[in-house]
């Protein structure tokens, strides 16, 4: 388990950057600055980030931004992207209307 306070000390304070306005998550419109800032607020895993900022939680479910978010977090945390804990993979994996999903009775036949 990472000591959040230790890690926050290690990475230093949030410093605004020139690219902070850049959109990263196209669906939920989350910017690079918001992601970077969230890291300095103690968000170290992709799963937490998704719950915190809603990046990767839109229609495409992170298909486009997943890798980008990981890269930004890794740079901010001064680690390799592979060291960032990935998001949980859960159903539904593809966009589906709640109406249809709600009708799913499971193993009925």
């Amino acid at each position: 388990m990472v000591d959040i306070q230790e890690k926050l000390k290690e990475i230093g304070p949030f410093v605004p950057g020139a690219e902070d306005d850049l959109l990263i998550c196209r669906c939920e419109e989350v910017t690079k600055g918001e992601i970077r800032k969230a890291v300095h607020e103690g968000i170290f895993t992709v799963e937490e980030m998704r719950r915190y900022l809603r990046n990767g939680m839109g229609l495409c479910q992170g298909q486009t931004c997943g890798r980008l978010v990981k890269g930004i977090m890794a740079r901010e945390l001064k680690v390799r992207p592979a060291e960032i804990e990935p998001a949980t993979a859960r159903a539904p994996m593809r966009p589906i209307e709640m109406r249809i999903l709600a009708e799913d009775g499971g193993d009925r036949e």
């Binding site: 690219e19 959109l23 486009t64 990935p86 539904p92 994996m93 589906i96």
Partner: protein, 529 residues
């Protein structure tokens, strides 16, 4: 709950191959694909594939797709379209959305062949309409017959970026520049050379500063980057474009495997399942094949799929272990052949300076997209003799050998190792049939007659554009770098079924230009020299 012996998720090259192989051994697999048409990305591939005969070399991707579908049908594979798999569970239960319903099905084995998704890079304006993935460009033009744009900038010099750039030009679009932040071209040199000789400038060590436009793309600015990928002051260049195409790599779409609890590995190439050579993951009965288990070419995905299909057949008791081993050996040999050469997995990211033959690799090709005039003569396919003869500008070790079989007269030799550079066989007589020109997937073979009449010679080149030039037409010959080398006249433009849409265009040029002229443009208005 409906039960299948094998459920295949994804009907692309790997999935279809696996299902067909399994069906051959007596299984009754079902393939779920979320798209309206099967074949994955194969039907967008209109170029001829590399490899040797067993890899379906010199056949165009979409034709390979048709063959695969026919074979799947022949063996009774059930292909279920518009079926989006939304969940995969360790008990090999699959939830799939078909129409207005979520169905639950169970497999004795499940093969995940979901392929990959395109990577993206960000820059101001990257969300504007007109910034698209290279795959989107291919989909629009090769499947839907709609141009991806009029003036396009391509970002990415890997095989996808190079192949799609060429296809954009074939569709009648203009590619204003090919840009890559890397120092060297990432894809096959022959693909780069095809694009460079059309006059597309390569900007290596450059990337996009921003896309311009308020409602859609109207322009783009690029700039040179240093070793740390930081922009270098004063190097900005602007292009008027309506489309920016991104071809910056692929990532495996492995989420279903992760959900099923398969052991995963985070690699620089993306998150992939830990699996053995047959694609077996850490969860018994769940397999992975194709790009989802690591990005490669469609040719290798098809073989990987077949290996998994055979292994699953044995796992479920349809074939004996000996039967499986024999089939595996045969397929693995074919796969190994594809994984050799300069672009082999173990050479990724390395700068090779010599070919397997010990010849210096063209640095100009890596940095500008074409082999320089003072480099070309050192390759064994480039020789001089009286009369018509092949000139093979094949300068990198890639797994490909159709040219060797194409020549009925035995003029071309590659040998057993299919990554070797083609050699002109001394003494063999070229009859100028041009089969080698049409067979070369890299469009790197030319027929040259250095002096067909006093002061003049001819060059026969592969030509896959419309309209076809007519005999007697006047135009300009372009060099390997896409700039004018001389005026020329069209001698003939031959089309034959055996050439499979690679027309053989013969132009007459001054004798001293026969080793320089490598492309043709009608009229003189395209002159860039």
């Amino acid at each position: 709950m409906k039960r299948y012996d094998l459920i295949v998720i994804g009907g692309g090259p790997a999935g279809l191959s696996a299902a067909t192989e399994a069906a051959k051994h007596g299984l009754h697999p079902v393939v779920f694909d979320e798209n309206a048409r099967p074949g994955g990305q194969l039907f967008k591939q209109i170029h001829k594939f590399f490899g040797s005969k067993e890899h379906k070399a010199k056949i165009r991707g979409f034709q390979i797709g048709e063959e695969l579908l026919e074979e799947a049908e022949k063996y009774g594979v059930e292909v279920c379209l518009n079926a989006a798999v939304i969940g995969l569970y360790p008990e090999k239960e699959v939830t799939v959305r078909i129409g207005e319903e979520v169905k639950h099905v169970k497999g004795d084995a499940v093969l995940v062949a979901t392929g990959a998704s395109e990577n993206m890079v960000t820059f101001p304006g990257w969300t504007l309409p007109g910034v698209i993935g290279a795959g989107a460009a291919q989909t629009m033009m090769n499947l839907h017959h709609v141009k991806a744009g009029e003036k396009i900038l391509m970002l990415g010099s890997g095989n996808v970026g190079l192949v799609v750039s060429f296809q954009l030009m074939q569709a009648g679009c203009e590619v204003v520049a090919l840009v890559d932040a890397a120092k060297r071209v990432g894809g096959y040199g022959v693909h780069a050379a095809k694009v460079a000789r059309l006059g597309v400038p390569f900007y290596l060590s450059h990337t996009i500063v921003e896309a311009e436009g308020s409602d859609c793309v109207t322009g783009v600015t690029i700039a040179q980057v240093d070793e740390k990928f930081q922009f270098i002051e004063g190097t900005k260049k602007h292009f008027d474009v309506d489309t920016i195409c991104m071809a910056v790599g692929l990532s495996p779409m492995s989420q279903l495997l992760m959900q099923a609890g398969c052991k995963m590995e985070d690699t620089p190439g993306g998150c992939v399942p830990v699996c053995d050579a047959s694609g077996a993951t850490s969860v018994p009965g769940i397999y992975a094949a194709g790009d989802v288990s690591g990005i490669e070419e469609a040719s290798s995905a098809m073989i990987e799929g077949r290996i998994s299909g055979a292994v699953i057949a044995e796992y479920l008791g349809y074939i004996t272990e000996e039967g499986k081993k024999a089939r595996e050996r045969e397929l693995e040999e074919a796969l190994e052949a594809l994984r050799k050469g300069m672009f082999a997995p173990e050479n990724r990211g390395k700068l090779l300076e010599k070919t397997e033959e010990g010849i210096d690799i063209s640095m100009n090709l890596l940095e500008k997209g074409y082999v320089a005039e003072d480099e070309i003569e050192r390759y064994p396919g480039v020789t001089h003799m009286a009369g018509v003869h092949p000139v093979m500008e094949c300068t990198q070790n890639i797994p490909c050998n159709p040219c060797q079989d194409a020549c009925a007269k035995g003029c071309i030799s590659i040998g057993k190792n299919i990554t070797s550079l083609p050699v002109v066989v001394p003494g063999a007589e070229c009859i100028g049939c041009g089969m080698c020109v049409a067979s070369c997937s890299g469009q790197a073979i030319f027929l040259v007659d250095e002096e067909s009449e006093p002061g003049y010679g001819t060059v026969t080149l592969p030509y896959e554009f419309l309209p076809l030039p007519e005999a007697g037409e006047k135009g300009i010959a372009l060099g390997r770098d896409g700039t004018k080398v001389c005026d020329c006249e069209v001698v003939s433009c031959k089309s034959a079924k055996a050439f499979d849409h690679t027309n053989l265009l013969t132009i007459k040029v001054p004798a001293d230009m026969t080793m320089k002229a490598r492309f043709y443009k009608k009229g003189a208005k395209f002159c860039q020299a």
